[in-house]
Every structure is written in structure tokens, then in C-alpha cells.
């Protein structure tokens, strides 16, 4: 049985809100730093959270990002309502992107987001229903692959 989370936070993400995009991930980063999580673990979580948050802002209507800190790991879950991903294998290929010009002007939409999230995660789970939304779960072990 999973231990109770030592810390739980939830953030709402609005699709299309490029002005505030990234704010939730920065808050998560700062909170994890404040409670003394190893800086390398924080860096990996923050990058994964930021890429995932940008994906919601760029592609979905709205989403929720949840972070739970356990004694052995940090779990990050992002649920969104949006178009979903028809072909997850294709979406995972570096360089594959359906981003608009506006997204690219922001410096995103290069098709590196999902591979980059996976690279930083110890456990990576992506599920999606077309026309409904996408759920991304990642775990990073507190004594993980880069820790």
C-alpha cells in the first residue's frame, strides 16, 4: 500500500493562457526546493512539469496539475480536457509536432516536449482519448536514475 503523501498540491491550467504559462511549474519548483528536495530531482521535476504545463496551454481547453511527494518518490499527474492524442507513438517521436505558428513564436512546439518529459522521468505513463483529453503521470524517484 502506498504511503500517505507528505505534500499535495494542485494547480489549474487554462488552455491558451500564454501569459501565465509556466507559473504553476515554477511554484512547484520553489515549493520542492523549500522543503529540501535534492536539487537535481527538483530540476527534473520542474522541467517535466513545465513541458507538460505548456502542452496543456498549447493544446487543451483546461487542465489540472497535481504533485504528490512521498517518502520514496514524487508523483506528478496532469489531466486535461482537450482534443487528445490520436497516435501516442507518433507524438513521442522527437521533432513531431502539431504546434501552431503562435506556439512556435513562444519558443515551444518543436516536438521535444514529450520526449523531454520522458527523459526526466523514472516512470512515464501517457494515456489519451481522442476528443476527451489526455492524462500524463510521471514518477521521479528521490534516489532515482540521475540522483
Amino acid at each position: 500500500m502506498r504511503a500517505e503523501a507528505l505534500l499535495h498540491q494542485e494547480y489549474a491550467i487554462r488552455g491558451g493562457d500564454f501569459v501565465n504559462a509556466g507559473e504553476s511549474s515554477c511554484k512547484i519548483r520553489n515549493t520542492l526546493r523549500q522543503i529540501g528536495i535534492d536539487s537535481e530531482v527538483v530540476r527534473r521535476i520542474a522541467i517535466a512539469a513545465y513541458e507538460a504545463e505548456m502542452n496543456v496551454v498549447m493544446y487543451a481547453h483546461h487542465g489540472k496539475m497535481e504533485v504528490n511527494v512521498y517518502p520514496e518518490e514524487i508523483r506528478l499527474t496532469i489531466d486535461d480536457s482537450g482534443p487528445g492524442i490520436a497516435d501516442i507513438d507518433l507524438a513521442m517521436q522527437p521533432g513531431y509536432s502539431t504546434a501552431s505558428e503562435e506556439m512556435r513564436e513562444m519558443g515551444f512546439g518543436a516536438g521535444m516536449g514529450l520526449p523531454n518529459i520522458k527523459k526526466n522521468a523514472d516512470v512515464f505513463n501517457l494515456t489519451s482519448r481522442v476528443g476527451k483529453g489526455t492524462r500524463l503521470e510521471i514518477n521521479i524517484l528521490l534516489n532515482g536514475k540521475n540522483g
Partner: protein
Amino acid sequence: MKLSRIQELLRATMISEQGGDDPDIKYAKASDLMSDVLALSQAFSDRNTLLITGLTNKQVVRTCEISGIRAIVFVRGKNPRADTIELARQCNITLLACKLRMFEACGILHNSGILAPAGPCGDPRNAR
């Protein structure tokens, strides 16, 4: 190399200085793609890393905060808007702007000893 020396080399303007701090910079990344900056983020080295970019929106500052980069040089004579400067102040990230093109800025800094961070796409052992 001190950031103040980088400012001299690039003839850059200080847009937003953080508490008189003059960080020591060893590495630089140059990109207008923030996903690439994040993808090439390396454990520990980003604290001594400078970002060279032509993008001036808030996401540039967010990207640096997320990956731990402490200073940004905007190239091609671009200046960030007030909201970008304010976010950099909150995040304690120094902003510089110069008129050079990205390639020129990279060349000057690389010639002066600033390296690409170690990693699959930028091993300093292969850079010289």
C-alpha cells in the same frame, strides 16, 4: 568569466541586474527554441550557464528559472517588454541586451573561453 566581462565583450546593455550580483559564467547555450534549452539542461552546470537568445517573451525567463540558468543575453538588438523584465526581477535572473547577431555573440564568447555545457550535443572536449 564574470558576467560583467561578458557584458564588455558583447558591448551589451544591462537591462536588469540582480542585487549587484556578478555571477561566474562557464557555459553558454544559444537557442530560440525553449524546448531545446530544457532538453539540453544538464545536472549542475546550468547554474553557471548563460542563455543567448533572440526571443524576449516571458517564457524565456520561465525556461531559465526552471533549468536554473542565471543570466540571459538578448541578441539582434531586441529588448524585452516590461512584463518580461519584471518576471526576471522576481526570479533573480540578470538580463543583458546586445546588437550582435546570435552567431557573432556565440563566436566572441567561445573565443574567450566560454564553452558549450557537457552532454550529448556539446562536449567541451570536442568543441575546440
